[in-house]
C-alpha cells in the first residue's frame, strides 16, 4: 500500500465554545493542486494555518510522507507560504527578500545568487533584484512572495487567498502564472479561496468547506455535475432551487412532487431518503429548456425578464408560487424569438441532471 503524500486526519480546532474546524480529513497526492473553497468563517483558512503551524489543532493529526508535522515548529516545517496581504520584508530589496530563506539556511553565496536568479526568472521578474518592494505593484509583490516561498524547494506550498487584494484583470493574469509555475515546478499546492471561479480555474481537486467541515472533495466537473450537498450545489456554478416533496425514493433516485400536480421521476437524491420528506430540487440554469407550448410534465412559469449576455440569453421566470427560476439559453434559441415579458411558458429538464437534497 502506498502512503499518501500529505494526509490531514480528523483536524479539529475550537476556541472555547466556538468550533472553527469540526472534522477535516483528506489525502493529497504529491504534485497535486488542492483548493480549499468556502465562504469566510468556513474553516478553510484555519486549516491552512494549522498546516503552517501558526495554530495548534484541538485534535487530529497531519502527516507529511507518513511523519507527523504537528510537533515540528513552523520554522522547521520547510513549508512555503504566500499570504493574503503583501508580506515582503520592507527594508530588503527584491533580491534579498528572495535570498532570505537561503541566508537563514546558511547556503553558500554562489548558490544563493544562482537560486535567487532562477526563482525570479520563474515568476518572470528577472532583473528586479535591486528594486525595493514599496516601489512595486501589488501583482509584482505577490510574484516576489511566490519566488521567496519557492526558492528553497519546499515540498508543500500554502497560498492563503493570495490574489484577493488585486483587481480582476491582474488576478486572472496571476492565476495563469500560478498554473504555469505549478506545472513547471510540480510543487504540491494547497490554495485557499472564496472565489469559485478561481478554484475551478486553478485546481486539480477542490475541497468545499462549509461551517468547519468539508462538504465534498472532487474535481471541478465532479462538484458541478454531481454535488453532494445543497451547499456545494449552490456554491459551485449557478443554480435554482425548488422546494419539493419526496413521494418515494429507491436506490438514490427519487420521485418528487413539485406541487400543482407536477411530478418528476428519477432525480438523484442526496442525504436521507425519508418518503414524504421535504427536499430541495436543484436545477442548473443551462440545463433547463423553455417551451412556449404547454408540456404535461413541465413547470409552468411566467417570464419576468430577458437579459442578453453575449453568447447566451438569461430568461428570468417565476413559478405561480413566486419562486424565481433562471434559464440560460444559447443565443438564437428558437424559444426566445419574440418571447415577451409576462408571457406564459413551460420549463422542462433532464431529470438525471437535476439533483434533490433532503
Amino acid at each position: 500500500m502506498t502512503q499518501p503524500f500529505l494526509s490531514i486526519r480528523g483536524i479539529r480546532k475550537s476556541y472555547g465554545a466556538v468550533t472553527a474546524v469540526k472534522n477535516v480529513s483528506m489525502d493529497i497526492a504529491e504534485g497535486e493542486f488542492m483548493t480549499f473553497l468556502g465562504p469566510s468563517g468556513s474553516g478553510k483558512s484555519t486549516t491552512l494555518y494549522i498546516l503552517a503551524g501558526f495554530q495548534d489543532p484541538s485534535g487530529g493529526d497531519i502527516l507529511l510522507r507518513g511523519q507527523s508535522l504537528l510537533s515540528t515548529p513552523s520554522h522547521k516545517r520547510n513549508i512555503g507560504m504566500v499570504f493574503q496581504r503583501y508580506t515582503l520584508f520592507p527594508h530588503l530589496s527584491v533580491g534579498e527578500n528572495v535570498a532570505f530563506p537561503l541566508r537563514i539556511r546558511r547556503r553558500p553565496q554562489a548558490e544563493i545568487a544562482e537560486r535567487v536568479k532562477a526563482a525570479l526568472k520563474l515568476v518572470r521578474l528577472e532583473g528586479f533584484e535591486d528594486r525595493m518592494p514599496a516601489l512595486m505593484s501589488g501583482g509584482q509583490q505577490q510574484r516576489v512572495a511566490l519566488a521567496r516561498a519557492l526558492v528553497y524547494n519546499p515540498p508543500v506550498l500554502l497560498m492563503d487567498e493570495p490574489l484577493s487584494a488585486l483587481d480582476k484583470k491582474l488576478r486572472e493574469e496571476i492565476q495563469f502564472e500560478i498554473r504555469r509555475i505549478h506545472h513547471e515546478t510540480g510543487v504540491t499546492i494547497l490554495y485557499v479561496t472564496h472565489d469559485q471561479e478561481e478554484a475551478l480555474r486553478l485546481s486539480d481537486r477542490i475541497a468545499v468547506f462549509s461551517q468547519g467541515e468539508i462538504d465534498q472533495i472532487g474535481t471541478g466537473p465532479e462538484l458541478y455535475s454531481n454535488p453532494a450537498t445543497r451547499f456545494v450545489a449552490g456554491f459551485i456554478g449557478d443554480s435554482n432551487f425548488l422546494e419539493a416533496t419526496v413521494v418515494e425514493s429507491n436506490a438514490g433516485k427519487a420521485r418528487l412532487s413539485l406541487g400543482d400536480g407536477v411530478m418528476v421521476e428519477g432525480v438523484p437524491l442526496h442525504g436521507g431518503s425519508a418518503a414524504n420528506g421535504k427536499a430541495s430540487l436543484m436545477l442548473r440554469p443551462e440545463r433547463l429548456s423553455l417551451s412556449r407550448a404547454s408540456v404535461p410534465s413541465g413547470i409552468s412559469v411566467t417570464v419576468r425578464d430577458i437579459t442578453f449576455l453575449g453568447n447566451n440569453v438569461e430568461v428570468s421566470t417565476a413559478t405561480p408560487a413566486g419562486v424565481d427560476l433562471a434559464v440560460r439559453l444559447p443565443f438564437g434559441h428558437e424559444a426566445i424569438l419574440s418571447l415577451a415579458r409576462g408571457e406564459q411558458a413551460w420549463l422542462t429538464f433532464d431529470t438525471a441532471s437535476a439533483h434533490a437534497f433532503a
Binding site: 513552523s74 520554522h75 507560504m81 499570504f83 496581504r85 508580506t87 520584508f89 520592507p90 532570505f100 528553497y152
Partner: protein, 266 residues
C-alpha cells in the same frame, strides 16, 4: 474648511500677532541665555556691553564641568540602550500578548509620565537609601529609565501597531525561528519607531534635573545638576555658557530626529 484662514478678516491679524507672541515667549529665553553666555558682563547685564568667549574658556578649563557633561552623556547612553531594549520587549508583549490585565499593564507602564516627578524622586531616594544605592550610577540609570520607558513603549508600540504581523509570520515560514524573525525582519521594519524611542529616551535623561538632584552626590553630578548647584552658589555667565551648550546639543538631536522622520516619508 470651516475655519479658512483666508476668510477670517480682522481676526487674522490678531491670530498672527498671537502666534508671534507665543513663539517669542518660547524662543526668547533661549536667545537670551545664549546672548548672555557671549556677553562680557560678569553680572549678566542685558544687552551685553561687549562680546567674549571668556565664559566658554572658563567652562572648558574647569574639569568638573567636563566631568559632569561626560556623566550626563554616560547615564543618558545607558538609559537609552536599556529603554529601547526593555521598551521593545514591553511593547511587543503589549501588542502581541492576549492575557488578563494587559490594559492595566499598559496604563501602569505610562504612569511615570503623569506622576509628579518630585513624588517619584522622593520615593526613589528613600528606596535607594535603604538599598544603599543612593548616589550611584545605578540609581541614576534606574531613575531616568523610569521616565524614559514610557516614551520608548509609546514610540515602539505605535510602530508595532502599524506593522503587519503576517510579515513576521512569512519570515518564520521562510525558516527563521521567532526571535531571528523579530530581529532580522520586525526590528528593521520598525526602525523609525526604535530610533524615535532612542532620541526621546536620551533627551528624557539628558536634560532631566529633578530626579537628578535627588540621585546626585558631590562626586556624581549630571550637567543639569552641576548647573543647578553652581547657580545656588553664585550667579556666573559660565552657567549661561553651559546651558547654551546643553540646549545646542538638544536642538541638534531634535534636528537629526526630524531629518530622520522626513527621510521615512520620502
Amino acid at each position: 474648511m470651516l475655519l479658512d484662514f483666508d476668510k477670517l478678516g480682522g481676526l487674522k491679524t490678531f491670530l498672527v500677532a498671537l502666534v508671534v507672541l507665543v513663539s517669542l515667549f518660547l524662543i526668547l529665553p533661549i536667545v537670551f541665555i545664549a546672548a548672555l553666555s557671549f556677553g562680557s558682563s560678569q553680572w549678566l547685564i542685558f544687552p551685553p556691553p561687549s562680546w567674549t568667549f571668556k565664559w566658554y574658556q572658563d567652562l572648558f578649563v574647569d574639569p568638573r564641568w567636563l566631568y559632569s557633561a561626560l556623566t550626563s552623556l554616560k547615564i543618558a547612553a545607558i538609559v537609552t540602550v536599556l529603554s529601547v531594549v526593555i521598551g521593545f520587549l514591553a511593547a511587543l508583549g503589549l501588542d502581541r500578548g492576549r492575557f488578563a490585565g494587559r490594559d492595566f499593564l499598559r496604563a501602569l507602564f505610562l504612569t511615570p509620565m503623569i506622576l509628579p516627578v518630585v513624588v517619584l524622586a522622593v520615593a526613589l531616594y528613600a528606596l535607594f537609601l535603604k538599598l544603599g544605592l543612593a548616589g550611584t550610577t545605578i540609581a541614576f540609570v534606574i531613575a531616568h529609565l523610569l521616565i524614559a520607558l514610557p516614551f520608548s513603549i509609546i514610540s515602539i508600540g505605535n510602530a508595532l501597531a502599524g506593522f503587519d504581523r503576517s510579515i513576521e509570520d512569512a519570515a518564520i515560514l521562510c525558516g527563521a525561528n521567532p526571535w531571528e524573525a523579530r530581529l532580522r525582519v520586525t526590528v528593521p521594519a520598525i526602525r523609525h519607531g526604535i530610533f524615535g524611542a532612542a532620541i526621546f529616551s536620551f533627551l528624557a535623561s539628558w536634560d532631566e534635573v529633578v530626579l537628578a538632584i535627588f540621585m546626585a552626590s558631590p562626586t556624581l553630578q549630571t550637567l543639569p545638576v552641576k548647573i543647578w548647584t553652581t547657580l545656588r552658589q553664585d550667579l556666573t555667565p559660565v552657567i549661561a555658557a553651559a546651558s547654551t551648550l546643553l540646549i545646542a546639543f538638544t536642538i541638534l538631536l531634535m534636528i537629526v530626529a526630524a531629518l530622520f522622520r522626513k527621510g521615512r516619508k520620502a
